[in-house]
Amino acid sequence: MVTRVVFVILVVSIVGTAATLSLNGVWGENSNVVSTRVGSPGGGYGLGGGVK
């Protein structure tokens, strides 16, 4: 029973995490966009990042 509960939690966590990352568009930016904002070299695209 414990195995089943742990596995369900694992699957829900995987799907939930993937849904959150998908909704937030993480790693969805194009890599060829260059930020011209001073202080944000390379565009700053990453988790929680942005061009501003």
Binding site: I14, L21, S22, N24, V34, G50, K52
Partner: protein, 388 residues
């Protein structure tokens, strides 16, 4: 006990088949004691190939008679049944003309055709519940349902039905005290060796498949998300375009689509994004290229007249400046882009995370199904049925 089943018939000058069982051996099958009382070696010839196996008649004071069969290292247990399948027999003509594996129904089960043939004895010794003869000739048809095989055996104008099961080989060997040196390793997977999943394994498989399906459905639902916030008219590719727009959903992605009617040519664009104060925020260059034609009587196309660029922008007012930066005809009948259009939309997602999670979970669940499919393919590899 052994005196009760002393040899009553023995045929001289016959080579005893290779078998680990001897007359008088005692052991248990599913906790029922049996004694080996007889041995018959069988041979089958077909199309230049030869199959041999050995049947041992066994007896239990409480459960009557049965057979232990040794073939290619596998040990099976058979018992007669008075039940009759429907149809009662599977003829050779049915086997040869049927488009699908012939089946019979018995006891609520559907047995699928596995193999058939004609065999004769090569060796007889011991006691039996009938009078065997070296002149016996049998025709058998084997059909399988899960862990159970039904043999339809014709001999001397009579038909008998046998149900065959696959006991645990190690337990049989230990119980009857078989000499490992006389028991060859099993060849391949026996058709009755069906995979049994534990309830936990089935649970893991089903939850993984369900989770994978949910992830894929969610990904497909997120895929078309996005709300247009600005679109220009289609304007000549001769001067820069300025597109003012406002972003309200800073937690999602903004998509900038550039369209140009390039035809067998490419067109290049430079873009710069300015914030409300006119300060540059980001810059990128993108091109569209689109080629098409006919070759070998079939139409083909390559590339696209649209190109998308996704950026992450915080909420606020922005201005996009898109400047045409040249182009070139790259194919016969080509034409440089004459018009362009820019569309900005917000609220986009990156559903590849969900597709990845779905793939991971479906692969996990699918591994169970794949293993079973592979195992079943090996189980049925010995069947003489061909779909051709």
């Amino acid at each position: 006990m052994q005196d009760d089943f002393r040899v009553i018939a023995q045929f001289r000058d016959m080579v005893r088949p290779d078998t680990p069982f001897d007359l008088g051996m005692e052991g248990e099958l599913w906790s029922v004691p049996f004694t080996v009382i007889g041995t018959i070696g069988w041979i089958e010839h077909y199309s230049g190939r030869v199959w041999t196996w050995t049947d041992h008649q066994i007896h239990s004071p409480t459960h009557g008679y049965g057979w232990l069969t040794v073939e290619e290292g596998h040990i099976t247990y058979a018992r007669k049944t008075r039940d009759m399948p429907s149809p009662a027999n599977v003829s050779n003509s049915r086997i040869e003309t049927s488009e699908h594996r012939p089946t019979v129904e018995m006891g609520g089960r559907t047995y699928r055709y596995y193999g058939s043939g004609n065999a004769r004895p090569t060796f007889i010794e011991g006691a039996f519940n009938y009078v065997p003869s070296m002149d016996d000739r049998i025709r058998y048809v084997s059909l399988v349902c899960g862990h159970r095989m039904l043999d339809i055996v014709e001999s001397g104008g009579e038909i008998e039905y046998e149900l065959i099961e696959l006991p645990d080989r190690g337990e049989v060997a230990a119980s009857f005290g078989l000499d490992p040196a006389r028991l060859p390793s099993p060849s391949g997977v026996h058709v009755l060796d069906e995979i049994d999943r534990s309830p936990d394994q089935l649970f893991v498989r089903n939850v993984a498949l369900a989770g994978g399906a949910v992830a894929v459905v969610l990904a497909l639902a997120l895929w078309p998300m996005g709300e247009r916030v600005a679109r220009t008219e289609r304007v000549p590719v001769s001067a820069p375009i300025t597109v003012p727009f406002e972003i309200t959903e800073g937690d999602r992605l903004t998509n900038i689509e550039i369209w140009a009617d390039a035809s067998n040519s490419w067109a290049w664009f430079e873009a710069e994004l300015l914030d409300a104060e006119g300060a540059p925020v980001a810059a990128f260059e993108r091109g569209v290229e689109y080629y098409f034609g006919r070759e070998g009587g079939e139409s083909w196309s390559e590339g696209s007249q649209r190109v998308d660029t996704r950026v992450r922008l915080e909420p606020g007012q922005y201005t996009l400046e898109v400047t045409p930066a040249g182009g070139e005809v790259g194919w016969s009948n080509g034409r440089l882009a004459q018009q362009m259009q820019v569309t900005v939309s917000q609220g986009h997602t990156n559903p590849w995370w969900l597709f990845g999670a779905g793939l991971l979970l479906l692969a996990l669940g699918g591994a169970f199904l794949g293993q079973r499919a592979l195992h079943n393919k090996r189980r049925w590899a010995g069947s003489d049925w061909s779909d051709d």
